[in-house]
Symmetry: none
Subunit: 214 residues, 4 copies
DNA sequence: GATGAATGAGTGTTCATTCAT
DNA sequence: GATGAATGAACACTCATTCAT
């Protein structure tokens, strides 16, 4: 009787897709604003203009399912934002810079999506304490980096560092800078605009990854 | 009837200190294992071998107080581990390397402490959604970095990067590498030992921060 | 997911109104019987035939909200009982008598409502120790008296007493007589029926308020 | 081993009496300030400068016992304050006036004692919901009034009212005026000083009780 | 399809009281 | 005499989920 199980490939009616999208959007907003722990069905339903939480349970198999749907939607939106800029760049180093800069820039146009994604990646666990979306999203991001870095090394555009370490350092650094900026903590010094932050970060990793004589 | 408020300066009896320490240790373990959101008083009490959650409330003014006590204990332990190595290093660059390497190494000897600290920093908020331990710990970490980097720049050991961005990139990168290693996700390639990860990460930031010709 | 906040103007379904009324009735009974302090959600739920206290929280925003709803319901019932008799009386003195007598009589038909109201007025405070329903009910009662007395003085039906003192004396006297009668304490002497008590009290205040030569 | 059972006639050592008195004083203050429901052993112990609530349980058989001791102490103090003024008055009517006026005046010199007494009378119940101090204190007050009024009637100083009703009206009126004044609610008009309130109230009951032609 | 009332386990916290020391 | 750690029940309240309608 129930649709549920977002992993399934059942086709969805328009209204169901509409409701699902509406709920996912509301959930993303609430998670971004209140954090994962405080993002209850009740608050999400209120934000979505729904009269009861039952509606959410009706459309999603459970909280895990909803969270996964949110993560997928966020990744879709972020990718859509970053893809063109990365594609436009020529060469591994340039693509890496495009990735970093666009990832940082995104905090300006989609701050909620980014905050929500970080919340989900850091906190979402199922009843057994297992991470919910990690393998589907974050690993792929790091692995994607790793692949890119390895390819760039082979092409001679990068130096001889450990790609696994560098890939994770990269994701962590981006998230931290973005997070610190999003929470308004800008420290002393000249007002920090996003573009400059992105450029600085890209500069740092350019130096870290550039070929060098060992 | 307890002075509670960890900030207080009331002297504590031996038994009370013992119980507090016991509870803090249990809380750190539970937070590390189950994540902050699932670390309830009930679970912490069970882990500590306590008969009721009331006992925790008896020794701590509230969850916030317990969490702060955990953070302080973790920082104390981590500092104790890292301090000698950092002090032994001579020069800004060497000290930075010592910090990074010892911070990564620590995941081997105190994995729970590190995981718990990250959980707390990322998730612990009070009823109003305000971060609980940030200013006392994480900001000071980034600010400490920023100060170190700025001093190093003046001494000519570092290049002309933005210290705010670099400091946050540094903390984020360390936490990400450490976190990825702690969760057992080691990707492909040769088995990654911690020391090598620390060295690689230190290498990367050495290149990123080294003086260069603009 | 309920609009809650009894002040809200959301329309309610039939079932919801029913449940709310049912809970309010149970709460009034429990407060009257056990006193405000002992009127916990658990006891109210049991009295209302509900399976859990969560149900009460579902229909009311909190204990304060429930208590306010109780006070409103009680005032509604009491007003319904007294209004016709007061309206039927002609002149300030006669209306005062009608108020006092009907207020005392009501203890016969709605003893729980009266006891509960007194309990609420005397004890209901929020977390900060602020009175919950005072301004809405009890003050208005004393103020209403004061206005009535002042108008009666201007019309020459009452003497030259201080209206503030008299108004509070009036409310206090009514509540005390009603309370003493409700708790079954009737002292010695002939069995005291309610009507006679009301008449005696009205007589006393008639003498106290009647015009006199200073 | 334990002293306890305040009703008992065991002689007490000096320190024990001292501790008891100290606890009773603290309890009276806390009840007056926070209300009966919020006056927990923990708060009373803190106010008394005690390190644990165990101390209270050691000296009193339970909360009921402590509350009874408080009521007795309050009545003792109030009586001490009022007795001389009442004794000095000659005649039933004059004594009644002295009682009312001194009772109102007392709010100026012992506001906490009065508030605490009202809190106890209105709220203190044992586990079965039975009033704790009523028979010992409040009834005696009303009964004392009733006796006084009856004697005055026989002496021809009072009219032919029902003494039970008048006695309770009197206690209720005094408590209400005193309570309203103590909570700062003074309404409009000229600043209301206590003496004037007492005089007004005494005037009102003088008129209500004075002999009249039926 | 959709609703919203209902559930029961769970949250942190406070409570009066006990008891070994 | 006195202490303070410990207890366990109770508190109001939130949670994700279910189910008759």
């Amino acid at each position: 009787m129930r649709a549920k199980a977002s992993g399934g490939q059942r086709e969805r009616t328009f209204t169901e897709s509409g409701r699902r999208a509406q709920i996912v959007d509301a959930a993303i907003e609430v998670i971004a604003e209140l954090g994962y722990a405080r993002a209850s069905f009740a608050r999400i339903a209120k934000r979505a203009g729904l009269s009861s939480t039952g509606m959410i349970s009706y459309h999603f198999a459970g909280k895990d399912d909803l969270v996964r749907a949110c993560a997928e939607e966020i990744v879709r939106v972020l990718t859509e934002f970053m893809r063109p800029r990365i594609d436009a760049a020529a060469g591994y180093a340039a693509k890496l810079r495009a990735y970093i800069e666009s990832n940082v820039d995104i905090v300006g146009s989609r701050p909620a999506h980014l905050r929500a994604l970080l919340e989900i990646l850091n906190n979402a666990r199922d009843a057994d304490g297992q991470v919910i979306v990690d393998s589907a999203v974050v690993t792929s991001r790091a692995e994607l980096f790793a692949t890119h870095l390895r390819d760039g090394q082979r092409a001679g555009e990068f130096g001889a560092f450990d790609v696994w370490v560098m890939a994770h350092a990269l994701t962590g650094a981006i998230d931290a800078v973005v997070g610190a900026h999003a929470t308004g903590e800008e420290g002393e010094g000249p007002a920090r605009d996003l573009e400059r932050c992105g450029r600085e970060l890209a500069d740092a990793f350019e130096r870290a990854t550039a070929p060098w004589r060992r």
